[in-house]
């Protein structure tokens, strides 16, 4: 397995700059031994979700924590982890991520002494609280022999090589400005997961994995233009190195938002150069 160079940015969208709204996106990515964990989230940003930046921070954090725990637990038997994720990814694992996000949201909400809601029966109305923190979540575990991808809501995950960019998960397209959200009760039921064997289902390195929030693809004139762009990012990494692309990424994403849909944009990239890691 070659080493991963992981870098990413979340930038405030052009429309949010004009209206003075903070960037609602979050991202987190790191290597853990021979594995890499990537996650991006897009807080909804609508007036009914005033804490969606917090929601997106919690989302990426929850995904990374759960994947880290799995990697540690199965450190000596990653094949068993693959089997588990393949079998339980969109049930137990999705539930665990959903529950972890909601547990943390309740804690943050309580710790900040924010308004508690009560339903008609006089019980705590957690649905009303979750709605304030609404966010999507995309996550990717890259193990030496397999990938595990998780997606709840809009956004894109692609594997990019010299052959072009291929989506890792193909989701249903929801028209307009709606998306599946962690804020819904039983949000996990809308999660889509995929496991892929690295050797048979992904191109040989050098290759890259790119996670983007929907502001990125929505800024391109068509799906074809988005795919072309992903390929060009990869080509630039190969030509100039990950560090050069990383140092320009914030500016590029800001320009993309300005000339595109105006939404916040996050891009998180893990680049594998194909060179063996020294023991």
């Amino acid at each position: 397995m070659s080493s991963a160079q992981i870098f990413g940015e979340s930038v405030q969208g052009a429309s949010h700059k004009r209206s003075g709204k903070e960037c609602q996106d979050s991202n987190r990515g790191f290597s853990l031994g021979q594995a890499s964990i990537l996650s991006v989230a897009d807080g909804h940003g609508s007036n009914s979700c005033p804490y969606s930046k917090t929601g997106s921070v919690i989302a990426v954090s929850a995904f990374c924590k759960i994947m880290r725990d799995y990697c540690k637990h199965y450190a000596n038997d990653m094949e068993t982890l693959l089997t588990f994720l393949n079998r339980e990814g969109d049930t137990k694992v999705a539930q665990e991520i959903d529950q972890e996000w909601k547990r943390r949201v309740r804690k943050v909400h309580k710790d900040n002494k924010r308004e508690q809601y009560v339903n008609d029966k006089g019980e705590k109305d957690y649905a009303a609280i979750y709605a304030l923190y609404g966010s999507t979540l995309l996550g990717l575990l890259i193990a030496p022999s397999f990938l595990f991808a998780f997606q709840l809501g809009d956004g894109d995950m692609a594997c990019i090589s010299d052959a072009g960019a291929e989506p890792i998960i193909v989701t249903e397209k929801i028209l307009g400005t709606e998306t599946h959200s962690l804020s819904k009760l039983d949000a996990w039921k809308k999660a889509i997961t995929r496991t892929k064997r690295t050797v048979s289902d992904t191109p040989e390195p050098p290759h890259a994995f790119m996670l983007t929030t929907d502001g990125f693809a929505n800024s391109y004139a068509s799906q074809e233009e988005y795919t072309k762009s992903a390929g060009e990012y990869f080509a630039l990494i190969q030509k100039h190195g990950a560090e050069a692309v990383s140092s320009n990424l914030r500016q590029w994403l800001s320009e993309t938002s300005e000339m595109g849909c105006g939404d916040d944009i996050t891009a998180l990239i893990a680049y594998f150069d194909g060179k063996e890691q020294p023991e």
Binding site: R18, D42, H44, S46, L175, K228, E232, D263
Partner: protein, 240 residues
């Protein structure tokens, strides 16, 4: 670190289609169509300003008229900055179903794209349909963009069939009452602001909107319902 040129394909703002659907039947003749022409004309500068202030949405506008039959006043969507209102005249019957048929043909993908913002459809009518509108409305509301569209109706005068308009909007809140010229101007101005609200790049959980799709449901959260002009606040001696 060296500054590299931004990679990537062609960037584009998201299209936002705004469609006036105007009843030009004989009962609209006279002051009603005159007030309507004046009111829509007067919204153009504000809509153009709003469009200029949000370069990340491409506001495309067009007009569909119906009376005996239906037809597009502008054959294709026009950029807001190039839009000019051609005064409409009124005669004939109220073939609302024909208007829905034409609308449905334009809300399919293609010519619509899946990256567009939800279209805004504003229906203005003072009467009862004279054709069988239900089948074509049903077809319209089953299209993906038909379901997602922000649908507003302005009920002109006391003879308008609000149940028909409610069938179109999906809820009563979005059937706005305009029983005199001043109210008509206010309602048209409010409806025209929907474009800027829809173009704000904020997302929302999917099934919230779905609740507004059912007949009698609540209005789309995208709209600011608190700002709808109250018809009873309008003092105007001339009541239609």
């Amino acid at each position: 670190m060296s500054e590299l040129k931004r990679p990537g394909g062609e960037l584009a703002s998201r299209p936002l289609h705004f469609i006036w659907i105007v009843d030009c039947s004989g009962s609209m003749c006279g002051e009603k169509i005159g007030s309507l022409n004046h009111a829509i004309q007067s919204t153009i500068p504000e809509m153009a300003d709003a469009a200029r202030n949000n370069p990340n949405a491409q506001l495309l506008i067009r007009t569909l008229k119906f009376s005996t039959g239906a037809s597009w006043v502008t054959s294709s969507p026009v950029n807001m900055e190039d839009f000019a209102w051609d005064d409409l005249s009124a005669e004939g019957v109220t073939d609302l179903g024909k208007a829905f048929e034409l609308l449905a043909a334009q809300l399919t993908i293609p010519p619509m794209t899946d990256r567009a913002l939800p279209p805004v459809l504003v229906l203005l009518s003072d009467g009862q349909p004279t054709d069988d509108y239900k089948q074509s409305l049903d077809k319209l509301l089953h299209l993906p963009w038909g379901k997602k569209a922000v649908r507003i109706a302005i009920s002109i005068g006391q003879d308008a069939d609000d149940d028909v308009l409610r069938d179109f909007t999906g809820n009563r809140e979005l059937v706005l009452q305009a029983n005199n010229p001043t109210a008509l101007v206010n309602m048209i101005k409010w409806a025209s602001t929907a474009a800027s609200l829809v173009s704000a790049p904020a997302s929302r959980p999917a099934d919230v909107q779905a609740a507004s799709d059912v007949s009698g449901g609540s209005a789309p959260l995208i709209l600011d319902m608190n700002n709808i002009p109250n018809p009873s606040d309008v003092q105007d001696g001339d009541v239609w």
